[in-house]
Symmetry: C2
Amino acid sequence: MTVLANDTFLRALRREPTSHVPVWLMRQAGRYLPEYAKLRARAGSFMALAKNPELAAEIALQPLARFALDAAILFSDILTIPDAMGLGLSFTEGEGPRFARTTVDERTIAALSAPDLEELRYVFDAVRTTKHALAGRVPLIGFAGSPFTLACYMVEGGASADFANVRTMAFARPDLLDRIVRINAVAVADYLAEQARAGADVLMLFDTWAGMLSPAAYRRFSLAPIGSVLERLPRDVRTIVFAKGVAASLPALVTCGASCIGVDWTVDLGDARRQYGDRVAFQGNLDPLALLANPESIRRAVADMIAAAGEQPGYVFNVGHGLVPSTPPDHVAALVDAVHGARSSRVEATCSERSGTAATVDGRG
Amino acid sequence: MTVLANDTFLRALRREPTSHVPVWLMRQAGRYLPEYAKLRARAGSFMALAKNPELAAEIALQPLARFALDAAILFSDILTIPDAMGLGLSFTEGEGPRFARTTVDERTIAALSAPDLEELRYVFDAVRTTKHALAGRVPLIGFAGSPFTLACYMVEGGASADFANVRTMAFARPDLLDRIVRINAVAVADYLAEQARAGADVLMLFDTWAGMLSPAAYRRFSLAPIGSVLERLPRDVRTIVFAKGVAASLPALVTCGASCIGVDWTVDLGDARRQYGDRVAFQGNLDPLALLANPESIRRAVADMIAAAGEQPGYVFNVGHGLVPSTPPDHVAALVDAVHGARSSRVEATCSERSGTAATVDGRG
């Protein structure tokens, strides 16, 4: 196991005191960085980058060269699993992901099965290459889409404003949707476990479209399969579940078994921490559009958020959804500096008082 | 004042027992009805219909000819106010509303003022004509966009996937956004009060884009101005605030002063009713996509929802967002029948026991 030079992020996930508030940002690697745009133009397509472990590693490390981030995240896409199921993924400029085949009729769904992990070897290679390139600087996050969010794209055939087909299926044929998410859960668990074996320190599930469901449907089609994914993962790996649009289901979500819950910016972080901060860590939740404002207002927003998060251990600063392509890199720098400067002096005292009891540092958390 | 033949909806808003669960549906008049499509094609544009009181009344009554709905709603648009402010509203096919002028720079915002109500006379005429055409059959709902939701369109210049400009303004220039929503609040209050004078029995605010804001920003830019609108309305008119995407802020929302809170389908209706059902009525909240399934699953979903709502008075059945254009009218019929059949026998007993103390029936609630 690599000894990490900076394990602040892992400590926060374990709800241990830290010398500063750790920060990383969803979509910290990618579209808003000119050095990414250059590589992207050369490679020709998004998947050409994701399928090349050396390029994927280079992209994952790009933001770390600019900003003092406390974690790196694998450069990949949540749709690698349905792609490996043979649904024919492609990305069209400005329109997002598209599948050649949709998963809607009874026969297609009956024939659906978890993919051969060999088809996803490029992802595990990218984890290994990125982990090696990081050389223990910060932890590496591996990830997958949640079983339900994958189902959204599979049933719809791509992105959608309202995911009308999957929402209708939840009422008309809940049995079919049950089967899709059950198969996805097996696939996601195997896929994440293999990412951990390849070197990922933390595993994260993105439940981007959870908010399309009523609370009862969310528990059945999204949260239950997430629970079964988490049960199948190695016990020693820390996990994060990010869910968008399910503020009303937070009491259920915090019991799913994840080490940390990532929340969108409509959740009251202070309330969430006060109510559930003794059982899970929280990650979030600045509106990513705040990054388009100006450094002064970003610093104010960061200070407000860290004050709301409170002093209890177990908090990771992040945005409440991915950075948008028009985010100015200078504003990200201002944000990261503001987070790190926020309460280091005060918490350092707390931390050194307790350093005698701190857990042994390793690369796994 | 007209005596209403069916005042079930008003009774539910007053949290009095009713003989059946009242039901109406957001966007019950319009796009999914072939008889609307015919009128729309003849008129040439959406606003040509909305600006013609006779046609607007005809459209508002179309769904009542098909379904035993317990309320009618004015046929209009939430953007009539910014249009009357001189921002130049137009509707492009498939793209939705567009303003010729956006409200983003300091000078435009300094010059902004509430519109002359004379510019909105066509709306009040439509209320009067519709009220007359209803002949006391069911109550008529007048409505407006919330001050913040109007600001979204004004700042953005139209609909948007992420309303990036208004969300950025909330961080970069909160003072400017404060001014816009303050002016909108005055305009909305005057506009709704005039609709009540023209005959609207109930006044409703649509806060469609509330979910774009963090809880703190929501309280400042949306809920506070909604409170000031409600304070300025005549005391004897019942009010409904529909808000989408603010499940986390429900405890604040129920204190805004409205008679009834309309919730989207991500809110747990049972929880909401148990926690706040003794202070406000609730309206909602079936996923409108459920209407695309089949009559059998619609009946099941209705039964589940009415069971969740519980027996406490103060519940109006509705969808959690507007009906989509592909909704089959037959499915709406199945839904309305299912709601009315749901627990009529049981509640009738309760209701007749109490009929001696029931409030006097009038057209105002």
